[in-house]
Symmetry: D2
Subunit: 353 residues, 4 copies
Amino acid sequence: MIIIMSTKATTTEIDGVVKRLEDRKVGVHMSQGAERTIIGVIGDRELVSRLEIEGMEGVERTVSILQPFKLVSREFHPENTIIDVGGVKIGGEEIVVIAGPCAVENEKQLIESAWIAKTRGAKILRGGAFKPRTSPYSFQGLEEEGLKLLSKAREETGLKVISEVVNPRDVDLVASYVDIIQIGARNMQNFTLLREVGKLDKPVMLKRGMSATIEEWLMAAEYILAEGNHQVMFCERGIRTFETYTRNTMDISAVPLVKRLSHLPVIVDPSHGTGKWSLVSPMSKAAVAAGADGLMIEVHNNPQKALSDGPQSLNDDNFASLMQELVSVIHAIGRTCDFGDFLEKEKGFCCEE
Amino acid sequence: MIIIMSTKATTTEIDGVVKRLEDRKVGVHMSQGAERTIIGVIGDRELVSRLEIEGMEGVERTVSILQPFKLVSREFHPENTIIDVGGVKIGGEEIVVIAGPCAVENEKQLIESAWIAKTRGAKILRGGAFKPRTSPYSFQGLEEEGLKLLSKAREETGLKVISEVVNPRDVDLVASYVDIIQIGARNMQNFTLLREVGKLDKPVMLKRGMSATIEEWLMAAEYILAEGNHQVMFCERGIRTFETYTRNTMDISAVPLVKRLSHLPVIVDPSHGTGKWSLVSPMSKAAVAAGADGLMIEVHNNPQKALSDGPQSLNDDNFASLMQELVSVIHAIGRTCDFGDFLEKEKGFCCEE
Amino acid sequence: MIIIMSTKATTTEIDGVVKRLEDRKVGVHMSQGAERTIIGVIGDRELVSRLEIEGMEGVERTVSILQPFKLVSREFHPENTIIDVGGVKIGGEEIVVIAGPCAVENEKQLIESAWIAKTRGAKILRGGAFKPRTSPYSFQGLEEEGLKLLSKAREETGLKVISEVVNPRDVDLVASYVDIIQIGARNMQNFTLLREVGKLDKPVMLKRGMSATIEEWLMAAEYILAEGNHQVMFCERGIRTFETYTRNTMDISAVPLVKRLSHLPVIVDPSHGTGKWSLVSPMSKAAVAAGADGLMIEVHNNPQKALSDGPQSLNDDNFASLMQELVSVIHAIGRTCDFGDFLEKEKGFCCEE
Amino acid sequence: MIIIMSTKATTTEIDGVVKRLEDRKVGVHMSQGAERTIIGVIGDRELVSRLEIEGMEGVERTVSILQPFKLVSREFHPENTIIDVGGVKIGGEEIVVIAGPCAVENEKQLIESAWIAKTRGAKILRGGAFKPRTSPYSFQGLEEEGLKLLSKAREETGLKVISEVVNPRDVDLVASYVDIIQIGARNMQNFTLLREVGKLDKPVMLKRGMSATIEEWLMAAEYILAEGNHQVMFCERGIRTFETYTRNTMDISAVPLVKRLSHLPVIVDPSHGTGKWSLVSPMSKAAVAAGADGLMIEVHNNPQKALSDGPQSLNDDNFASLMQELVSVIHAIGRTCDFGDFLEKEKGFCCEE
């Protein structure tokens, strides 16, 4: 940390800051300029992060040198983390697709959607059982009944399943049914919830908050890792900007940025990111081209009847086309995929390197 | 709701939409333009809010006519709601000031800060016992120990107390110690938590989320009212924008807007809203001039030693000046205050109407 | 400026940076930490602002110590600048109100609006002759004909006049008719235009760009002062955020901030800032309470027939009420006003200190 | 347009609105709901865009049905527009790369950079002669001298050239030297400048303003087309958000959106969009994968010595790698490129379909 003193700081004020630093046993490096004094602080990352200097008299501002995140940083762990979800590897060479409906509505809807996901090459089934909805009068999810249906879909199709938890009290319940626990955008800084899932031995997908900076997002993951659970993947789902044509503005540049700053995998959710099914395909290709490790796509057996987020869901045909088009982009950037038999011809071309 | 069909919508698609509406028993009003068909939907607010039309084929977009909030709306409850916090009335003629440190740190700090608050005319003491912090390595609060200290400060000074709850499991615990429960900005859409405090018979202060629209904010309050607790006050604390000179951008226009849309009181927090103590005074005056019912101000017995948010806290002198300056503005807009003896001279002038 | 070298910077890279600095004759202060080297740069503000260090190898980032603005800064000019517009003083004790229609539409509309402005206490008449409009199919202004009508209104009412210039070619033309030249939000970084008005001996009002940071805004003013014209006043008119209830989000905190950073006057335009006439009154009071030197308010003799921005214009009644309410707030913060006879009773109370 | 009347609108107010519409000869369609009246307006796009209804009494709000843009819309012109820049086709099957330095600094720099661009497969050379800079103390460009150097570079390398115009007075001058005129982000709503370039018979590249909505961007292009010049291409260059890790947030979803709404080509500038050279390559691939028709990339013969935007410029090696990687992505999405000899092996694979 660098402390920039005001041009009007008195010797007493400067001495006060130095004394405080020395009391806390951190190193001090003074630099006396023509106009003002600048104080370098040398010390342990956590120790420095706990110093509270900004309010002291004579201090104009402070500048962090160290990144505030540690366990999630690539400096700390240079190799890519590969998360093994019951045999499905996320963060390695292979691009993994998660697909399914926004909300679990009933058995028929979920099982049919699951078979679409499975047939077209997805490895993991998504489906919300606990839905955070802006209005208390909107459909809020089937809760445990929804988790049981996800379990059933897993048995029938062999897909792994992911679902969101919103209540710290339900963490064990949700964890007992799913293969990946999802923390939604609205809960990215629900630190109680982050700590709870940090105690699990189960992969966690951490969605980016609507207005979360990349630093805040990494720090939210740090909460989970700090509790012992290092199986965290990020999910970019769009940020809130002034633009209203799209539901959110997808921050595709977050993908290469987070891959550079952190060793953890990055998934992209173009369905929530854009809110329009017609943009899901181009944005999926863009995400993969930018370096995403996987995609999460809303697929519904009958999008027109969806109880939640219908306008952004793909049906079987759209999803099949998307997966077909993705194969070439995945190949073009030197990564692999295993989308199964339906792409027989492409498979030989793309995925058997 | 108005449904705008695409210029290319077929008769079958239009009929499909109409059938769906009729199946759900809502009224339909067709309007056939030269270029496209527009369908008006007539029906109960909640029923219409559950229709999922946007994903249907041939639909270009839908436009809401009804506001989605109900219990919080001024249409539903035309008179101002006045919340009685053990005799302190919020939402009436009187401007109420809440003051105290960001976090409860120890007994000396809290009691000294409480006496500053009391002496200068605040009626309610703030102090965080559970602190949501961006970094897991920052001070997280004294938890129940902090609540006990707040209780003690209440006994000594007679001030009412407000503190934040972050975990649904702690709602009853926090409620047993405080007079107002605070829901922080990061938890504005923690719907689990909103429902829990909705079951209490205790006032709730709902801070605006960093990137929450006014509609989302009102809908979050709707969650609390829908559970039966109508003692909700809003707190504007700045929104996240591109501007970096201030920690947040205070949306002062939200004050008159929310007062118009809703019957519930609106408090303003200029300390978090700006992040700079030197802006607290002008922004407090602006908030009151714009129609706020109260202010929440960070005051610390020794801001330079604060463990959290030092740079935005006032000390005794600054706070005394602020309160003195506020009196004239409160008078100028025709409202009242009761800041006690320290403003002896002003009192006769302002507060005894 | 402080240069933070990467943890992986080689000695050669560090030497490269130092050599470049020394070649440019700026002072260098090395600080060797455990993890990385930090280089302090000591030198003249303009010289340092021209260094291009960020792209050099081994450099992680640079941190500015000096503010980039100079002539506009309060450090450079500690006293408030008071601009004399033909006897109307802006930036002193008195709060000055500018009022009038968004666009000059015809003689009747302008003269009637001017008399409303005059009667209710405004000192300056606004009216757009050249209108920047989002659509090429919207009304674009009466151009020189509009300027002539403004001139006529000035003769009849004695008000000073302000109007916007959008084309560098029209600067002399507009300057020949008006008392203050306005640079609109969309042209805040039209540097050609800024330089042109910088050559005039005429006051300039510089509106904040929709997404301009405070620093960019001050730098835009620096362009005008650098050409020799120091009669610049700022006008905050709302910034673009995610919120859609209001046309823009008024950044009231910009008022005290800019007053602190600069010696130039600050005006607030709550009509464009909110886009809703019902918010103009509360936001006007808030702006004055926060320290604004004046207000710019849209007033129209018949807002319902306005060709531009009708929904945000006040009529005579609303404007009269606003001015009446403003008087007490102006008094409460210790400033003065001279709104004339119509406030006979208030005048004695407020404005004759 | 649909007019939503207030629930409290009187019969007189409703009649007033209807009368105004009928006076302007537009069709009216009344819809009387239980709670309020809704009025549909039927008529010519331009006529309706000139109605000023929002300020009328009893009107709650209006909803546009027609898109406000016309000549730029795909409805008006269903086929892709292909712009022919002296034989280089933009908007067709081929992906075109524009490359070169941010600013023209001197002959050596420009010619060397031009040869890098040429050798690696770019077809068009960029280089700023008139530079809009935040600070009046930063390098502002070589002006006409820079244009002459661009001309020289064109002669030597055979590349087409693009350069920015900032002053309406310089439009003819710049047009006489370049093959494409660029309108920069800060001038996107400089309507005077838009109209001037609209009178030319020369391609124009219109960059998106930092906080411009997609609708405003399309309307800015409408200004140019409305003057007769239909050779307009868009350039997405990032928007301003709260995120500070990147200089701007690239809105990649704008690419497929604008391609859907308009027939005009879309270029992407990942250099300004991210501000970091290390993100240029992943974002270039993402842009192409999302459907961009071309890229504009900052390339400098010696980025470390660049007078402007060094940190975001590629050198020869980086640029060569980028072009090589792009080829596979271009192929993967079924488009073509002609990057010349240096990619001999890839050429056979990719670009000779």
